[in-house]
Symmetry: C3
Subunit: 149 residues, 3 copies
């Protein structure tokens, strides 16, 4: 059964959730800076403003930043949902914080591994470790609400 | 006016919402498995680990998985928002469950149609059917909060 | 500290949040219509239904719609999280509405600038203006929950 979340657990979730949103914003800023530095723009109107249509082109590192960002969309955004509902399953603060902290650390490492092109399987490992608390939360939520399906 | 959601309606929403998040995770896992089997990696560091830089390449089926996943981001993530707020508009459990169930079934069919490349318009039809409860929820929410805009 | 949101602030957030979700749906509809009109399909099964496999191809304007949509995923979806939590930081209605309204207006302008290919830096400016209330909300939330990290 879902219950109102404790202030401690929910605030802990919110803290790491907001930091991860900020982390996503940082990737967007990096992408924009790389576009300007490498002169590689996705839109002709941007290229025109920054030197000409020949800069309407793809760039390997911009594409890497894009993949890092989209992987964040695929994983951090579902975490924001799972974490808020998981807070309603009356977890202990210590266990809940462990879930949030492992996901947070794994996603920060994932971004670093992606942007710095660290040797495989660093990035995949970070992704997999980050999925563990997510699957754990998903299972606990499903157990909590299964009677209402 | 928005009111605290009934436990029954909210739990029913959470049940299908979490299942859809798990469904998205499954697509990510399939994508990774296809990358390994077809030897097609988005990053040179992954290709290097799995046979060499010549496997840093695109694959038609990997791209199909990617499109299925991104379509999920575009539709399932907004559903997670709409469904949680719609639960606060005091819907009857039967009507609310119908909204959630139709969306859930449509999105599962959408994924199957995408990954199996079922003949058109199966996938588009699944997408459209899935949008009906979403638009219905959006309209009911806007009616409920319009006085506060 | 987070507190239950006031009905006025939360409803105001929900109003603009749902309108932005609807705005994203409109971009999806436009993308589909452009695919049909320009005969450019991402999947062979769709092309087969609409004239033949030669229409399984990319289209410059379809790709532009896709970029507009993905930029929305990157910015509107995090706003839905930030706005709902920010409503729990006891902001005044006037200040909260200003945050939501600025983001809403900026994102509508962003979409118009993208789809109409308005001269740079209109779109980038709209993006940047939209990020201001988001960063402001993120900071206020972090201040509110920092004690619970």
């Amino acid at each position: 059964m879902l219950v109102p979340p404790s202030l401690e657990v929910f605030s802990c979730f919110v803290f790491y959730g907001v930091l991860l949103v900020v982390k996503m914003y940082v990737i967007a800023i990096i992408t924009g800076q790389v576009r300007l530095r490498n002169k590689a723009f996705a839109n002709p109107e941007d290229a025109l403003r920054h030197g000409g249509l020949r800069f309407h082109r793809e760039d390997l590192y911009v594409e890497r930043c894009r993949r890092a960002h989209i992987n964040d969309l695929e994983n951090i955004l579902p975490f924001l949902f799972l974490g808020s509902i998981y807070s309603m399953t009356a977890p202990s603060l210590a266990v809940a914080r462990l879930h949030f902290l492992v996901f947070f650390a794994a996603r920060v490492l994932h971004s670093v591994a992606y942007l710095c092109a660290l040797p495989a399987p660093t990035r995949s490992l970070a992704y997999t470790v980050g999925q563990v608390p997510c699957v754990s939360m998903a299972v606990q939520i499903l157990v909590a609400v299964a009677a209402y399906a």
